[in-house]
Amino acid sequence: MKYLRWLVIIPYFCLATLPLCWLFLTSLKTQEAAISPTASLIPTTAENTAPGGLSFSATLDAYRKLATPHTGKAHAFFHYLFNSVIIGLLSTLASVVLGTGCAYGFSRFRIAGARDWLFFILSTRFLPPLAVVVPVLMMYRAFDLPNTHLGLILLYTAFNLSLAVWLMKGFIDEIPRAYEEAALVDGYSPLQAFYKIILPHSATGMAVTAVFCLISAWNEYGFALALNNAEAVTVPVYFAGLQGNIQGIPWPQIAAGVLIFVVPIVSFTVLVRNHLLRGVTFGTIKQ
């Protein structure tokens, strides 16, 4: 049984990390080495290596080039990364805050037609997002929202809110009412009880919700592409736009950029991993 476990884990680990390893290697290469038909796998510090050999001379050029605007682009990579960070963080924050408030309401108060409302909220996810690109674009035009950060933040919040409400409702439902009632009897107002009791107890749920919302906003491509051509372009759209470049596709820079793009989301997930693990098993253990 023990060995069988490793027999599954190791191949899966290799499979999952292979693209990342490949990205890392590519990011160290020159454009020529990157598009060479033979795969060179071993980075060396040697100045000159034989073309087509197993080893290649590693360089940080690709990372350096990220700081300067690419041919035909208005800004350097970090400008687009900054867009992604702003849009990702603010839409996640908005989703979690609104989702928690909304879920608290559904969980604790008698709301006429609560079930129908919840179903309606969920139903906003039934349509494939790309099906509403055109109407959204037309709406946004009317409000001057294309090419703005606010536009994407609103859109991602709207899309993630259904997930946030449902996830948070599950978590808040699990918090016994008795805790809040004890706080009420202890001399706290309902709002204070929410701050003092509900919020600390739903931290796990908020972490889980934040991870999902951030990942979905961070990686979103379709709307980011359709609603932008200049100011609020995010990293996925920026990279895709490098295709068809007159100098060919700059693979080493893309690899370097992608690694930098992946780091925040990985570190965020690692930071909240304890909450995530608890979150995934939440509700299976009744106290």
Binding site: Y179, E181, A182, V185, H201
Partner: protein, 350 residues
């Protein structure tokens, strides 16, 4: 005497179609311990929650020291409620659990005051060594002490306890019962104690209010409730084994059962139909005329409970444990006529 400490008038509460409480009126005097006794689902917890302010009544009025508190928020009432399931905050230590009510806005206590009160209460409940433990790492008895501690640190004007001992094992229940009585006497704070346990009710209450299906059936001292219950329902709430209730009619000066067996002499002015309440200790297995067959023998050591079929009427008899009784034995039960409770029923059948 002056006004009662707490006065409840005509309190009613419905949940949809079901009536949880119906025109409850009762009063509580200063320093009094009132037990509300009733079976599960009688509305006991609802009543406490309405007094605490966690639920609002559909009708009625609650007043403390003459001031109407019916529409106040729980926080404004200065009433402590101890929940049946303890409800300690699981992410806090015992000390933080005790501090929490003292840190409530509007209480404005200095750090010193808070520390003193916690030390005093912890001492009183003997939980001082537990103060820095997480609330989740306590035994049931310890949790309940802390829950009671969280109520008494506040020095509230009224304590409400909702079956606080129900979730504990029997031995601990006895110990804590005695401690609670002592605590209430020491603090002198009035207390409403809700339970379905007749022993707790009899041993703790200055007065007992019997609640059933949302109505108060009788309020009185434990002696009154035990000796002069005003209905079979009240009588069934107290005493073990449960009281025997036998439906009878008057026939030739005798109370006769449905199968026309005369079991005892009836008063001249008694109604023609009645329910007799006879506690198990007031029936003797010998000395009667109508035979009964023993069906179950429950040996309690010092005494024995016999369940017998007495001419179609199941009865329980509490007798001394000296004689060996066997299932199938024939006995001749006799009733102590001075200790029989008679509740008249309507005379419809003549």
């Amino acid at each position: 005497m002056n006004d009662p400490f707490l006065k409840i008038d005509n309190l009613s509460k419905n949940y949809g179609e079901t009536q949880a409480l119906s025109e409850i009126s009762l009063s509580l005097h200063a320093e009094e311990l009132l037990v509300i006794l009733g079976p599960t689902g009688a509305g006991k917890t609802t009543l406490l929650r309405i007094i605490a302010g966690l639920e609002t009544a559909d009708a009625g009025r609650i007043a403390v020291k003459g001031a109407d508190i019916t529409h106040q928020l729980p926080a404004e009432r200065d009433i402590a409620l101890v929940f049946q399931n303890f409800s300690l905050y699981p992410n806090k230590t015992v000390r933080q659990n005790l501090e929490f009510p003292l840190q409530a806005p509007g209480r404005n206590l200095s750090k010193e005051d808070i520390a003193n009160r916690i030390a005093h209460s912890a001492d009183l409940l003997r939980i001082t060594p537990l103060l820095d433990r997480p609330a989740t790492r306590l035994s049931g008895g310890e949790m309940q002490r802390v829950a009671i501690g969280r109520a008494i640190v506040r020095q509230p004007q009224l304590f409400l306890l909702d079956e606080p001992l129900t979730n504990l094992d029997a031995k601990l229940r006895e110990v804590l019962r005695v401690e609670l009585i002592r605590l209430q006497r020491d603090l002198g704070t009035p207390m409403i104690y809700v339970t379905h346990d007749r022993i707790e009710a009899l041993s703790m209450g200055d007065r007992i209010a019997v609640l059933s299906e949302g109505k108060i059936l009788q309020i009185g001292s434990p002696e009154e409730i035990y000796q002069q219950p005003n209905s079979p329902t009240v009588a069934r709430q107290l005493g073990y084994p449960p009281i025997n209730t036998i439906d009878v009619h008057k026939r030739r000066g005798q109370w006769s059962t449905a199968s026309n067996h005369p079991i005892m002499t009836a008063d001249h002015n008694a109604p023609s139909n009645a329910t007799l309440g006879i506690r198990a200790e007031n029936i003797s297995p010998r000395g009667g005329e109508i035979p009964a067959t023993i069906e179950v023998v429950e040996d309690l050591g010092a005494s024995t409970i016999l369940l017998a079929d007495w001419a179609g009427q199941p009865i329980q008899i509490l007798t001394s444990g000296e004689q060996p009784w066997h299932i199938g034995d024939e006995i001749y039960p006799s009733i102590d006529p001075d200790r029989v409770l008679v509740w008249g029923t309507t005379d419809e059948q003549g």
